[in-house]
């Protein structure tokens, strides 16, 4: 079997296995699995409103997935997407509430602020990795919590007077779309989906069509060979983290300027950054794969909300399925081994 075919088969098998185990869990817990999947489907596509909500959820998933995937291609594991997303969210809302500008300047400025905030937050682990050889996984985990506490403090002191949430952003900074809202019976679908798609194209272009992208991938394949070939490995590591953080910051802008229009004190993480890891892995770290995986996970997440209502099944079932899919994709070694065995038997 060609390796290309195998690379497409592995995510599909992983998803099927995840769904299979999910079904088993439903049956063992005494739930009606058929009703469960029906509720899941109806919750995502049964009504145009729900489909609008799916698009709304897919938007930050694409950007978070791109953020993780881009770093992965340079051999970096950015677990800090969550933290970069939070600082991006707050930066976008900060611009959204504190400036008074015409829309043509205000909205781009707010989006830019989110991108810059995310990029700066990701610059720290990139710099520490390049300069001090500190592993980016630990630094980004630590920076996630740092971001959470600092932004909470910022919301309490700068964005409000000791309140739990900020003001709503000015309409001139909003990504909300009356057009989409009318189309989808007032779902929260917004213009951000175009930003997400454009970013996916940008990522594909940078990695596949530019010299710099070639260097980034080369560093991911073999750092020492790249160094020997005259590439500036340290600079590429920092650049990769910064671009990754830019995507993550933009994902925060989607939440701040599109879905919610404000920011509030958080007791814990949004989860979008961690789901982004799942999206990137399932999408095999390619732009098109990320978009497809984001659509799948977005539909699952939104559809799940209908499961308790229609079938009486806790929506956490979908979280279990997503986690299992990560396990199966990560364990692709064993799936590969099975595929090879089966295809060898077929050849005999």
């Amino acid at each position: 079997m060609s390796s290309r075919m195998r690379n497409i088969l592995i995510p599909i098998i992983a998803v099927l296995l995840g769904v299979l185990v999910g079904t088993i869990i439903m049956i063992v817990s005494g739930y009606d699995a058929v009703a469960g999947f029906q509720a899941l489907w109806n919750g995502a596509f049964g009504d145009i409103y729900f489909t609008g909500e799916v698009v709304r959820q897919v938007t930050p998933y694409i950007l978070a997935g791109l953020a993780v995937a881009f770093a992965f291609r340079t051999g970096l594991f950015n677990i800090g997407v969550e933290g970069q997303l939070i600082v991006g969210w707050v930066a976008a809302v900060w611009v959204g509430v504190s400036f008074d500008l015409p829309k043509i300047f205000h909205l781009p400025l707010a989006v830019l602020a989110a991108a810059v905030a995310g990029a700066l937050w990701a610059f720290i682990p990139g710099y520490l990795k390049a300069k001090f050889r500190v592993h980016e996984v630990i630094v980004t985990i630590m920076l996630n919590y740092t971001a959470l506490h600092i932004t909470n403090h910022f919301i309490r002191t700068v964005l409000s007077d000791g309140k739990e949430r900020s003001e709503n952003i000015a309409t001139t900074a909003s990504l909300r779309s009356p057009f989409f809202e009318g189309l989808t019976e007032y779902s929260r679908m917004h213009w951000g989906i175009f930003i997400a798609i454009i970013c996916a194209i940008i990522m594909w272009f940078i990695l596949e069509k530019t010299t710099r992208g070639f260097e980034l991938r080369a560093v991911g394949f073999n750092e020492h060979a790249s160094q020997y070939a005259g590439m500036n490995v340290k600079q590429n590591i920092i650049l990769s983290m910064v671009i990754s953080g830019t995507f993550a910051g933009l994902a925060g802008a989607m939440e701040g300027l599109g879905t919610f229009g404000y920011t509030a004190i958080k007791g814990g993480f949004t989860g979008v950054g961690f789901d982004g890891i799942a999206v990137a892995l399932l999408g095999a770290n390619t732009a098109i794969g990320v978009v497809l995986a984001a659509i799948l996970f977005g539909s699952l997440k939104v559809g799940a909300l209908n499961m308790p209502l229609e079938a009486g099944i806790p929506n956490e079932l979908v979280d279990i399925i997503i986690a299992l899919i990560i396990f199966f994709v990560a364990s692709s070694y064993i799936i590969r081994w099975f595929i090879d065995r089966i295809s060898k038997k077929g050849a005999k």
Binding site: L128, H135, H153, I277, F327, A330, S331
Partner: protein, 319 residues
């Protein structure tokens, strides 16, 4: 408020917050010393907290005052069992350790909340009636000065965690088992050549981390939160991970780091009632553990180096 009064508040509170961190950080040490990265500590704590609370709620009427202790045992078993998934994925199936750890964290939250809704038909459990409660250690608390500071108004679990840390230090550095465990984390091929079963040692390391992570979660749930919901364990596992690194993968170092982080955590909660801290925003105390860990990794405060072969897969016969 005199210094003595402040210490009387801070010391027991520090030890209370530190004990789950100590236990979980020790778990991380066993796993990572064997060569398997474990960022799933958070998820293992979730499993521990959940199983302890459920066990506690359903058997408190039978076991009485022994309930929380038996629940610790149950939580350790549940944690070990759950970490088996991480072990199989990252050792046998050669999955990326970090990815598997992320999946462990997501899976733990999903599974436990699913079960809470299945069992109790609501988003969180009831409050347990038989948790760990404050005690004055007999005899020792009568010692002047030291007694009130270290042995009054405190919890048995604090001493338990410190005792486990000392045992872990002995096991890791003073026994043949510990030497073997460390060798598979440093140089698995050399270990294999000497007849050590690398796969087995790594499995043991990960399962121990599951048991200790489960204990950490159970201690937290039964002495601090008293119930289980989505917010019970929110970051303690990652803070334990930080303590492990800050303590340079050494059991006693991790214990010291965990006590220090527990100190920062308890200050961020009770700081407002202390005269010299009421004007300091608690954000500094909240982020201190994380920033210090980054600084330690960078080498500004004594460089922390991970075991050499951490995160790699040992494949027999490959060079």
């Amino acid at each position: 408020m005199g210094l003595m009064d402040i210490l009387l508040i801070i010391i027991p509170s520090t030890l209370l917050w530190a004990s789950p961190l100590i236990l979980t950080a020790l778990g991380g040490i066993f796993s990572e010393r064997s060569g398997v990265i474990n960022i799933g500590l958070e998820g293992l704590m979730v499993i521990g907290a959940f199983s302890a609370i459920v066990f506690n709620l359903s058997t408190a009427s039978v076991l009485g005052n022994w309930t929380p202790w038996v629940a610790l045992l149950v939580a350790a078993l549940a944690g070990a069992l759950f970490s088996g998934i991480h072990a199989v994925a990252s050792i046998t199936f050669r999955a990326d350790h970090t990815v598997s750890g992320v999946a462990i964290n997501l899976l733990a939250v999903g599974v436990t909340l699913f079960l809470v809704k299945l069992i109790y038909d609501k988003g969180q459990t009831d409050i347990i009636q038989k948790g760990f409660s404050k005690i004055d250690v007999p005899i020792l608390s009568d010692i002047p000065f030291i007694g009130p500071l270290f042995f009054s108004n405190t919890y048995w679990t604090s001493y338990f965690a410190i005792a486990v840390a000392i045992i872990a230090w002995f096991v890791v550095f003073k026994t043949p088992f510990g030497l073997r465990l460390r060798s598979t984390g440093e140089h698995p091929m050399a270990a294999d050549t000497m007849g050590i079963n690398v796969t087995k040692m790594r499995y043991i390391g990960v399962l121990l981390s599951g048991a200790l992570g489960g204990l950490g979660g159970a201690v937290y749930a039964q002495s601090i939160s008293s119930d289980f919901s989505h917010a019970t364990i929110s970051g303690q596992g990652f803070m334990a991970l930080a303590a492990m690194i800050f303590g340079k993968w050494h059991p006693l170092g991790a214990m010291g780091a965990a006590i220090f982080f527990g100190f920062a955590q308890s200050l961020s909660i009770i700081g407002n009632s202390l005269p010299f801290l009421e004007n300091v925003p608690n954000v500094y105390l909240l982020i201190a553990p994380y920033i210090l860990t980054i600084l330690a990794l960078t080498g500004f405060i004594g460089r922390a180096d991970a075991p050499k072969s951490i995160g790699t897969h040992y494949i027999k016969g490959s060079r």
